[in-house]
């Protein structure tokens, strides 16, 4: 536990440059500056490590970095996505607060590998404490002469800036995030072209999640194979899981991939006293909900969770006990997507509001017998037809809540009240 991003968590002032360097921090970056590491070597290590994007999509990081046209002459950018906003997710906040230097070093390494001399870390607007921590860390590194132009006459340049969000979940979508850095509404771009070709300010850009960047320095220090071995087949390394909801001790845990869910639940102190596990959303609010039975058999890795019928996502494990009204919970999630839809494309703009209104009507006791079919129909029509994944994210919970807990919805429609809460 706590081997990579949370390595220094138990130390005093773990976020300082001093502590970070004492535990081997910036050694990779210094090697790069000395010319002792090549981009190819780094990409090979990352590929060997099995590190997959920690923001939710799970795309192999080494592969992603290799897509950048590093030899093209134009300005390139590396961007960190710290716009953590997926309900149930709160790991990046802690990385920024407790290990900002790992993010900086990871980004700098990325900049070197992809020949991008400028980086931006997009931090969500509400994260003022993490933002200040990160800014403080940046000051330290600049002062130490580890960033800037032609750093220590190495020929390597890397400037890193923060950009603050202003309250929009959609900016966690990487192209919306780019739009936002450009000072625009966070509306996702259609793809192709992909950011690796046309990204920030129209230039080749790679965007990775905070946790992904923060994992890079340790992976390179210890070796890709070391990291891969921590995890399981197809899910290399360890991963931060935010375990929240109806557990005794909600917390972030950095644990090996493949850990059984029941072990993770136990680490979080188990279900609140006198209650029984009812349902689990394993990867953040956009991922399908699972029943207790299925969840208790599941292992926490990409394949394990997929086998159980959901997705690892950002590793945000939302635990619900038997006091939970699934109608109310889905309504709340539907409201979230309705509230956060950017409004750009038709199915999401019109569909998320429709879903929410039908659920709200059911909650108000005005449900109709065919509302369940209507909900399934509407979510099916959003699914796959939108520019970005928010449409799918809004649709998936509807489908899974209704599939797994349909009687609760039928009861609510019939009786005008919750089967659970009464």
């Amino acid at each position: 536990m706590n081997e990579v991003c949370f390595k220094n968590l138990d130390k005093k002032k773990c976020y300082s440059l001093k502590v970070y360097e004492q535990s081997g921090g910036y050694s990779i970056w210094r090697k790069i500056l000395k010319g002792e590491l090549t981009p190819e070597e780094i990409i090979d290590e990352l590929k060997a490590s099995g590190l997959r994007g920690r923001g939710g999509a799970g795309f192999p990081t080494g592969l992603k970095w290799s897509f950048m046209p590093r030899n093209a002459s134009m300005q390139k950018y590396v961007v960190c996505n710290s716009d953590e906003g997926e309900p149930g997710t709160c790991k990046d906040r802690d990385i920024l607060r407790y290990n900002p230097h790992a993010v900086i070093e990871g980004m700098a390494i990325g900049g070197f590998v992809m020949n991008a001399s400028v980086g931006y870390n997009y931090i969500r607007g509400e994260f003022m404490e993490p933002f200040k921590r990160f800014e403080g860390a940046l000051k330290e590194v600049y002062k130490a002469g580890l960033l800037g132009k032609n750093i220590g006459a190495s020929g390597v340049s890397f400037d890193l800036h923060t950009h603050l969000g202003a309250g929009a979940y959609i900016c966690g979508e990487e192209t919306a995030l780019l739009e936002s850095i450009e000072g625009k509404k966070g509306q996702p771009r259609f793809k192709p072209p992909f950011p690796a070709n046309v990204g920030l300010f129209g230039q080749p850009t790679t965007i990775n999640n905070t946790e992904s960047f923060a994992s890079v320095p340790e992976i390179l220090s210890q070796g890709g194979q070391w990291f891969a071995d921590i995890g399981v087949e197809n899910s290399g390394g360890c991963k931060l899981f935010s375990v929240t909801g109806h557990v005794q001790k909600p917390s972030n845990f950095e644990v090996p991939m493949g850990i059984p869910f029941k072990d993770l639940l136990e680490m979080a102190g188990g279900i609140k006293k006198g209650r029984k596990l009812k349902a689990v959303i394993p990867g953040g609010s956009s991922t399908p909900v699972l029943t207790a039975e299925v969840a208790m058999e599941m292992t926490m890795d990409y394949d394990g969770i997929e086998k159980a019928g959901s997705m690892l996502g950002a590793g945000s494990v939302i635990v619900m006990d038997d006091s939970t009204c699934m109608v109310a919970t889905l309504t709340r999630l539907a409201h979230f997507y309705y509230d956060e839809s950017c409004g750009q494309c038709t199915p999401c703009r019109e569909g998320t509001g429709w879903l929410y209104r039908v659920l709200k009507r059911i909650m108000d006791g005005d449900g109709k017998a065919d509302d369940i079919d209507l909900l399934l129909g509407v979510s099916d029509k959003i699914m796959g037809n939108t520019i970005c994944a928010l449409g799918d994210a809004a649709a998936m919970p509807v489908e899974s809540f209704l599939r797994n807990f349909r009687p609760e919805f039928e009861y609510y429609i019939k009786h005008g009240k919750s089967m659970v809460k009464g």
């Binding site: 309250g167 979940y169 972030n252």
Partner: protein, 157 residues
């Protein structure tokens, strides 16, 4: 419309972006100027920011109305931004909203008579392990209980 001090602050952000891309700083510029104007934006302010950053007013208006953190109506000196998303909801956020409304004597979205506080229900603030939680100013308050809320809110000045 924009104070010199605000301009200085905005310029720090402008410097982060490539030349000619100064409109990248619009999100922060709006926040900086909003903070100087009783935490709300008006058409004139948005226009001034757009002019300062040499961008179309409507583009600044798009930003000002797209993101959640800008206010277009009067708010209290302090805005209690209480999360009501799933993890907080599972931990009783809805009750706390009601408690706050009762305690302050105002519904969410309205400002207390003395202009001090308003309560706003917000989506996930990314502190789910500390649910239920709210934010006042830059500060997060986590693992809230009614008693804890009393202490925090009673000390707002």
């Amino acid at each position: 419309m924009i104070s010199n001090q605000a301009k200085k602050q905005i310029d720090v952000w402008v410097a982060k972006y490539p030349i000619g891309r100064q409109s990248s700083a619009v999100m922060e510029a709006l926040k900086i100027v909003q903070a100087e104007n009783e935490n709300r934006l008006s058409a004139d302010i948005i226009q001034a920011v757009a002019d300062y950053l040499d961008m179309p007013s409507i583009a600044a208006q798009e930003v000002a109305t797209f993101y959640e953190n800008y206010n277009h109506k009067s708010v209290g000196k302090h805005t209690i931004r209480i999360c009501h998303n799933i993890s907080c909801m599972l931990n009783g956020a809805d009750d706390l909203v009601k408690y706050l409304e009762k305690k302050l004597g105002v519904k969410t979205g309205k400002v207390t008579k003395n202009g001090l506080v308003n309560v706003k229900k917000v989506e996930c603030l990314g502190a789910c392990v500390g649910a239920p939680m709210f934010q006042i100013g830059e500060q997060y308050y986590e693992n809230l209980t009614k008693q804890k809320i009393d202490e925090i809110v009673d000390n707002l000045k």
